[in-house]
């Protein structure tokens, strides 16, 4: 099967983007309002606000912001600093500049306050927006895509339709040479030995088991229980069964490595993203909501994220499109305008898992051919970034 050709924006590091977003990024919460006002006149363009709220230093926040500001879907970056925060703004500005992207740093205190900073930012962003249509584009192959998957707002249908269909889409992408990333190690408890049997290199086995056991330990210390009475009422009998319902999103390809937030996978194949910090809980839950997970997948280079929902999430994301796969046909009937794929058809006998898997795959390819997601059309650009312990060493290649 010949993969369909996409069109992408080429970046200096060799990666290509399927979007050409202008980011307006605050480096402390005190600069957030200025960023929102800078972006306001450009609501109909791909100008999006992201940022790190904390004032205290954070290696994780620094790494994440650098990975996001140099993401292949990003074309230019307006940074906004208050002036006295601890964020290493010159280091970030230099990293963006070194990536070949236009970057502008406005510091509110030295620019003369809110109004002057908004004016300075808007002038620069307007120039970037004007230049967007002229940005050169090149042919892109499906093998160059990085795709993430998560599930949220899950119900009994998620593990029956949406998640297995997402797994089939992942299998097709891995076959085509793309990079696929799954995560939620806290919801894979009970699957670690099954996962360990799927590695491409036996040396990875103990790492997979250790990664999930670390998550189990971490969540247990946070007082988080994994298996509830409601799960049993819904027909789930064991923790393994519940976890497998989430795990099937990963498909059936060999797992070729483990990566940490903001790390880029060394090549095509299926990767597990380890989102749980080492050691005792320090800054709270590893990810406080679905958006935090989506942003970590995007920081690992994801061009698009498959989001399986049963109860009906509406979120999209800054930087990369989110393809929402609705597992529950009744939810779909109520919220069709928010959903990209109706996996609930499987429950009504109107489609097979393979057919829905193909539909998810084709929707993602179409994103590189001018297609847009429902959440993009609705203007969703959710973003969140909190404190976390920084990631470990660079991932090895186990392909």
């Amino acid at each position: 099967m010949t993969a369909a050709t996409l069109t992408g924006w080429p970046r200096a590091d060799g990666r290509k983007g399927i979007r050409n977003v202008v980011l307006v990024a605050y480096l402390v919460e005190c600069a957030h309002h200025v960023c929102s006002r800078i972006a306001r006149p450009f609501d109909e363009s791909d100008v999006q606000v992201i940022g790190f709220s904390g004032c205290f230093p954070s290696d994780y926040g620094q790494e994440m912001m650098e990975a996001l500001c140099t993401h292949p879907n990003v074309g230019a970056v307006q940074l906004v600093s208050l002036g006295c925060e601890n964020f290493r703004k010159q280091e970030l500005a230099e990293a963006v500049r070194a990536s070949g992207r236009p970057v502008n740093l406005v510091t509110i205190q030295s620019t003369g306050g809110t109004a002057a900073a908004i004016e300075a930012g808007r002038t620069w962003v307007a120039d970037q927006v004007d230049a967007l249509p002229e940005a050169p584009r090149v042919a892109m192959d499906a093998s160059e895509l990085v795709i993430g998957t998560i599930c949220g707002g899950s119900d009994a249908t998620s593990g029956l339709t949406g998640n297995p269909a997402a797994g089939r889409a992942f299998d097709r992408f891995v076959t085509e040479g793309a990079t696929c990333i799954f995560e939620e190690t806290g919801e894979l408890i009970g699957c670690e030995h099954i996962m360990a049997d799927r590695v491409s290199d036996p040396a990875l086995r103990p790492d997979i088991v250790a990664t999930v056991e670390k998550a189990a330990r971490y969540y247990a210390q946070m007082g988080y229980g994994s298996f509830s009475n409601g799960n049993a009422l819904g027909g789930l009998s064991t923790i393994e069964e519940k976890s497998l319902g989430a795990y099937v999103k990963s498909g059936s390809s060999p797992i070729c490595g483990i990566i940490k937030p903001a790390q880029q996978a060394p090549g095509g194949g299926l990767y597990l993203l380890d989102v749980v910090p080492e050691g005792a809980p320090k800054f709270g839950f590893p990810n406080i909501n679905d958006t935090a997970e989506i942003i970590e997948l995007i920081a690992c280079g994801a061009h698009a994220v498959i989001f399986v929902t049963g109860r009906g999430s509406v979120v999209g994301s800054a930087i990369s499109p989110v393809v929402k796969v609705c597992a529950n046909p009744e939810t779909y009937d109520r919220m069709a305008a928010d959903m990209d794929v109706n996996a609930g058809r499987i429950l009504r006998g109107e489609a097979t898992l393979d057919e829905v898997g193909d539909e998810i795959h084709d929707k993602i390819v179409a994103l590189g051919q001018g297609g847009r997601t429902r959440s993009e059309e609705l203007g969703h650009t959710e973003f969140v970034l909190t404190y976390k312990t920084a990631s470990g060493p660079e991932p090895g290649c186990h392909v």
């Binding site: 249908t157 009970g190 064991t238 319902g245 429950l347 193909d358």
Partner: protein
């Protein structure tokens, strides 16, 4: 891509060719007779969405398989068509002991 897994057979979903259970994808009434592949199953009780029926006989101690992977072991002999749940399926998972350090 043309195997019959993922096909709905009148309300029961066979998720993976290796599975020895099928999953109700709608409310099923006691006594309903539903054909899955070459096997006809009769619902032994009312079943909600997400509940499992044995597709084949599963002997005590054998793996119960869903998504092509073990979800636990049969805690007693299970006949084809029997409801598979907490009363006849037990987890093999022991991480809680691992957390306590007794099974490290």
């Amino acid at each position: 891509m043309s195997d019959q897994t993922g096909m709905v057979a009148g309300g029961l979903l066979h998720l993976h060719p290796a599975d020895n259970v099928v999953v109700a994808i709608r409310a099923i009434t006691e006594g309903e007779s539903i054909k899955v592949g070459g096997t006809r199953l009769v619902a032994p009780r009312d079943l909600g969405l997400g509940h499992k029926l044995a597709l084949t006989a599963i002997a005590e101690g054998e793996d119960v398989t869903k998504y092509g992977a073990p979800i636990g072991r049969a805690s007693r002999d299970i006949a084809p068509g029997e409801h598979v749940h907490l009363h006849n399926l037990a987890s093999r998972y022991t991480v809680i002991e691992d957390i306590e350090g007794t099974n490290a």
